[in-house]
Amino acid sequence: MQISYKPGNGLLYSLNPMIKGAIAFSAIVFFSLNTLGLVAMTAITAVMLLVSRLSGVELGDIFMSVRRILLLLAIVGLIQGFGAEGFSLVDACAAMIRILGVFLVAGVYVTVSSQSELTFFWEACFRPLGLIGFPAREFALVMVIAVRFFPVILGEIDRIRMAQVARGAKLDGGGLLASAAALMPLMIPTLTQAIIRAGELAIAMEARGYRVSAQRTRYQRFRFGIVDLFAILIPVMLLAYLLRPFFYTAG
């Protein structure tokens, strides 16, 4: 099961895309630094899942895909659990909830954000870079196209993989060099297709009058509502908490 946008109209859905993005971003940083200890992190994860559920997010699909990182979780748990004083279950769980949290936040974020909302957020993030001469809008376009084509290319890789395996390809040869060679039947066709597709897309966009430097209007306007005003407190608080050591040293 793939995690992707599932339309809905709960609380999380209705947030401004900037706020959504900021919450997701700060929550990911928060989880990956994980300074609060096991109990608090577990509680925060639970609250987050509850809010998602109340917003109408189908958690089932997200949980299903957690299966894919189970091995990763187990390995990290084992490595982190062994400390100077032998194995500590608390440390192992803390390490695992860290990864799990990041994964769940990303899953919920992608589920409640449509393509155009993601685009909006990307563009806004790159805009400041435009001030120092960085081609922000073009870069955002590249990101958006890459994100949009990603599932297509994944599907393509899957089809090519199956057909080549049926021909007899062994795509998991041992060793680094050996496996690079073994991947040729997969990599070359995928790249070829991606290049062909990119060329077609460029022609199609130009034919429809797309010019990189033109002023653009927006099809959808994103409002900033009362809820957003409160929601903005979440990333502000999270980031303030995370940046707390800097304030101490400064003050």
Partner: protein
């Protein structure tokens, strides 16, 4: 040699969605086995199940009464199989499947040449060409030759006729029905009318229930109700004319086909 592939109560899922329910049917040699259905009805997914790549299913696939083991026994080509090319020469492309089966270069060459010939490509002319230098129809034939050179008992093709011109389609159809003498050939198609003459059975996939039909039955149902299956206008037109001179209930797919062909020829003569 494998004679029959049988689907016993096959139920196929994607996560919690049931895609195909209690599917029964069989595929056999000496005919082209068609799989048809609207977009999204699960045709490609059925091929994945048969090829052993989609494991979320209940029920069984039997090969002459035994549980079918797909690994090594199938070839699988999706739409635009020429997207699979990754070698520098036609020779390597055809020989790849044999090389991966641990055959030596000396053993491979004669087999590969003969197989190319069988698929209507002159090995002396194209042996050292780059696969992407061939024409569209030649690429398609090379791709299918490369997918089947190791003689798997079951050949699974997803829309093999798409994107070819009429001549290319005709060539391919006769090659496929030639293959059917030694292999079980299963073809997913959106243009069953092109293959009805060569086909002996047809699996119709639909969310409300799947049917295993004789081609003539399928044709009758599709002619009676275009929501059952949308046959192209030119074909319906030809059949309507045919129906006036003969009895519709006894309509056989190959009769219709022969009729359409003679009409085509008459048209060509008039022009």
């Amino acid at each position: 040699m494998l004679e029959r592939l049988e689907l016993k109560d096959l139920t196929v899922r994607y996560g919690r969605n049931i895609l195909l329910k209690n599917l029964c049917g069989s595929f056999s040699r000496r005919q082209i086995n068609l799989v048809v259905g609207r977009a999204g009805s699960g045709k490609s997914t059925l091929l994945r199940v048969l090829a052993g790549f989609h494991k979320e299913y209940e029920g069984s696939v039997l090969a002459d009464g035994q549980v079918f083991e797909p690994s090594g026994n199938i070839s699988l080509a999706f739409q635009n199989p020429e997207a699979l090319f990754f070698n520098g020469t036609v020779a390597e492309e055809v020989g790849y499947a044999l090389k991966m089966r641990k055959m030596s270069a000396r053993e491979i060459e004669p087999i590969a040449r003969q197989w190319l010939q069988k698929w209507g490509l002159d090995p002396d002319r194209c042996w050292l060409n780059h696969p992407l230098e061939l024409s569209g129809g030649e690429k398609r034939r090379l791709a299918l030759a490369a997918c089947t050179v190791f003689l798997p008992p079951v050949v699974l093709l997803d829309e093999p006729l798409a994107g070819l011109d009429a001549q290319g389609q005709r060539d391919l159809i006769s090659l496929l029905s030639g293959m059917a003498t030694d292999h079980i050939v299963i073809v997913v198609t959106h243009e069953p009318e092109l293959l009805l003459e060569q086909s002996g059975s047809l699996l119709y996939l639909h969310a409300d229930g799947c049917k295993s039909l004789k081609p003539a039955e399928f044709l009758r149902l599709a002619l009676a109700d275009s929501s059952f299956f949308p046959l192209p206008e030119w074909y319906r037109y030809a059949v309507r004319h045919f129906a006036q001179s003969s009895d519709l209930p006894n309509l056989r797919a190959d009769d219709v086909y022969r009729f359409v062909k003679t009409r085509e020829r008459m048209h060509a003569d008039q022009l």
